[in-house]
Amino acid sequence: MKRISFTLLAIVTMLGILIACGPTTVTVEVPVEQTVEVPVEQTVEVPVEMTVEVPGEVVEKSILIYNSMHGDPLPREADEELVQMFEEEYPNVDVVHSIVAHEDFKQAIRAYLTASTPPDVMTWFAGNRARFFIDKGLIMDISDVWEQEGWNEDYAKGFRALSSVDDKQYFVPTSWYWWAVYYRPSIFEQYGLEPPQTWDEFLQVCETLKQNGVTPITIGTKYRWTAAAWFDYFNMRVNGPEFHINLMLGTESYTDPRVKTIFTDYWAPLIENEYFIEDAAAYSWQEGLQFMIDGDAAMYLMGDFIRDSFPDELEDDLDFFQFPIIDPSVPIGEDAPTDGYFIAANAQQPEEAKAFLAFLGSVEMQQYFAEKLGRLSTHNEVDISVFSAQQQKGIEMMQTADYVAQFYDRDTTPEMADEGMNGFMEFWDDPVSIDDILARLEQTRQEIFESE
């Protein structure tokens, strides 16, 4: 009898396991963090004179679903505040707001978009990654909002172009940021270093730091994209932005000798000289930052959002310089990803969603973002005097750039980016295998871009 009951137990367990490992039931665990909805209490002052209070009609509140990927502490706070401000202005709309961790959001968005009741408003990246969904008809045309809000004049042409397909607008670009080499001025000062402008100066700085026991460059490559920034910059500085963007679009080859040069002549020496932090692949980008906060490392090639994660008390000890110029004859390209919002094509509450977008893109909210997060606004009317001297420097850096790229994993297809970033990591571990890696990337490129 015992044996039989064991068998039964086993069968039940087996079925459970079988079900759990069945291919179709892999559940995507998306840690959704619901923000607590604070009901806006409206205190109604009833005038004493009023004798008859007609019971007001019960206004049905409409529900607007908003999913965002602003997981870092400060952006999260701003995101929650903006929802509250919107609800105060539109008391009849109840915003159901979910903040989903960045990496998970990127994976979940297709499920959101193809659901029969998708979230109404979502955060996303401007440029190619939005274009992909627009082409599939999954993003709502909001040209009317652009028209009505006067955004065609309020937003710079470049941002309007980023949001448009066939002269229709689908996207509200609300913020952008630059990439640069961030460093600790106090460490530079200690060893008498100046922010380098040329490649030779940069190598000099690295060497001096290393001699003094400071790791020159920190990086956390667990999620790989931090390494892609190095690729973007090497390729743009050495081969020029035009070649870079063509490579991203799949019209240049990864086995082109110009691609190999950047690995063998520029990237490999940094790795071989141990200018990068040890065991970088074990760290997320925030964990990599810790070495810089502790003063064990001096520089980090990162987007301006690095400041959100840098401790307030050290804020004055964080500055940046433009990625050093390698070949002065090459036009200057910079990475400056633009983020924003869109409405799902099947949104259940298109009117409320449009109101929300109009609210987000308004000069008041843009000003709020600029002040709260120090994010660069895309809106022309935003008063930029609120920005610090550092940010003015960044804006100037971007204004003198000849070309603005979005970022490796935004400029090329997700599949190519995945293969590419794996290649960068493999190269990092084993720089001599670069020929094999590039041959594989080229094969992937052909499969992706030539099948289309």
């Binding site: 068998t7 137990l9 069945g22 291919p23 179709t24 692949a281 074990a282 599949e415």
Partner: protein
């Protein structure tokens, strides 16, 4: 046949209809649909185009597939040896009334109570190369050379993850064996003692053979557990650095949900399913044979 006899024959099927329908809709249907998807180039958005066996041909040329397969194999081999042996040893040691035996059992089982994600996160911190518990301890006792980038070294990373899985599995196997030991008739053990068998002989010739059904369950569960390994890899490395800790389930997830190649992901899932099926058939076949003996 009288009406009541027909009815009594039908009754079991009537009861089974509901679960069977649910099973068909939620398990069997999607399984076949996944197989169909594996023959398409579905990207999660567009209409799937039928492309025959192209996904499979690509899969069999994909080096990541073989890395993942090898890693699953490492996982299986470690899982059917270390936790099984350790779990059995612990069960034998704790299957008696010694003081604190309950507390020891509970604490050995406690990793199983934690969700895999929590375990993975905890161990990631322990593995932190600069300030994690493991490297700090090694440096403290002067063994700096042994301090490693546990999760960033392509040769170590898979083992570093498997250790976490083993840490979790041992207590589970122990509990299964403890239950099995309870069901052994003490008179058999006593009889072997009367016959003058040594402790080891009793174990070898009496206890272990009687535990055979449990061992089969443990081994099969371990194999299937290692084939569906996903959570720890996903939390600790996402298959990195550059796929060196990828396992099939994780590979499928990355291809389907990160690279949006649903068709390709479905092909990986189908292969994983077929591999699991082999073990499930072996298991069912054994069960049926045992049943015959009764």
């Amino acid at each position: 046949m009288t009406r009541s006899r027909i009815l009594s024959r039908l009754t079991p099927y009537l009861f089974l209809i509901v679960p069977l329908v649910i099973y068909l809709i939620w398990i069997i249907g999607p399984t076949f649909y996944t197989f169909y998807l594996s023959l398409t180039d579905w990207d999660g958005l567009s209409t799937p185009n039928f492309i025959g066996w192209r996904n499979y041909l690509k899969l069999f040329r994909d080096p990541v597939f073989y890395t993942s397969l090898k890693n699953n194999l490492k996982w299986v081999v470690s899982f059917i040896t270390i936790p099984v042996a350790a779990g059995l040893a612990l069960a034998m040691a704790l299957n008696r009334n010694i003081p604190g035996e309950k507390i020891i059992k509970a604490s050995l089982y406690s990793p199983m109570v934690l969700s895999l994600v929590v375990g993975g996160l905890m161990w990631s911190w322990m593995y932190h190369p600069a300030s994690g518990l493991i490297n700090s301890m090694l440096r403290l006792v002067g063994l700096d050379v042994l301090a490693q980038g546990w999760l960033s070294d392509k040769n170590l990373v898979m083992w570093a993850i498997i250790i976490v899985a083993i840490w979790r599995q041992v207590g589970y196997v122990m509990v299964l064996y403890l239950a099995g030991l309870q069901s052994i008739d003490p008179s058999l053990v006593d009889a072997s003692k009367v016959d003058g068998a040594s402790g080891w002989q009793t174990f070898q010739h009496v206890i272990f053979p009687l535990l055979a059904p449990v061992t089969v369950i443990v081994v099969v569960v371990s194999i299937i557990d290692s084939l569906r390994a996903f959570d720890l890899v996903s939390v600790m490395t996402r298959g990195g650095p550059y796929n060196s800790s990828s396992v099939l389930a994780n590979f499928m997830y990355i291809e389907a949900f990160n690279n949006y190649k649903m068709g390709y992901g479905a092909a990986i899932a189908t292969i994983l399913f077929l591999i699991s099926l082999v073990f499930i058939f072996i298991y069912l076949w054994r069960i049926l044979q045992t049943e015959m003996e009764y």
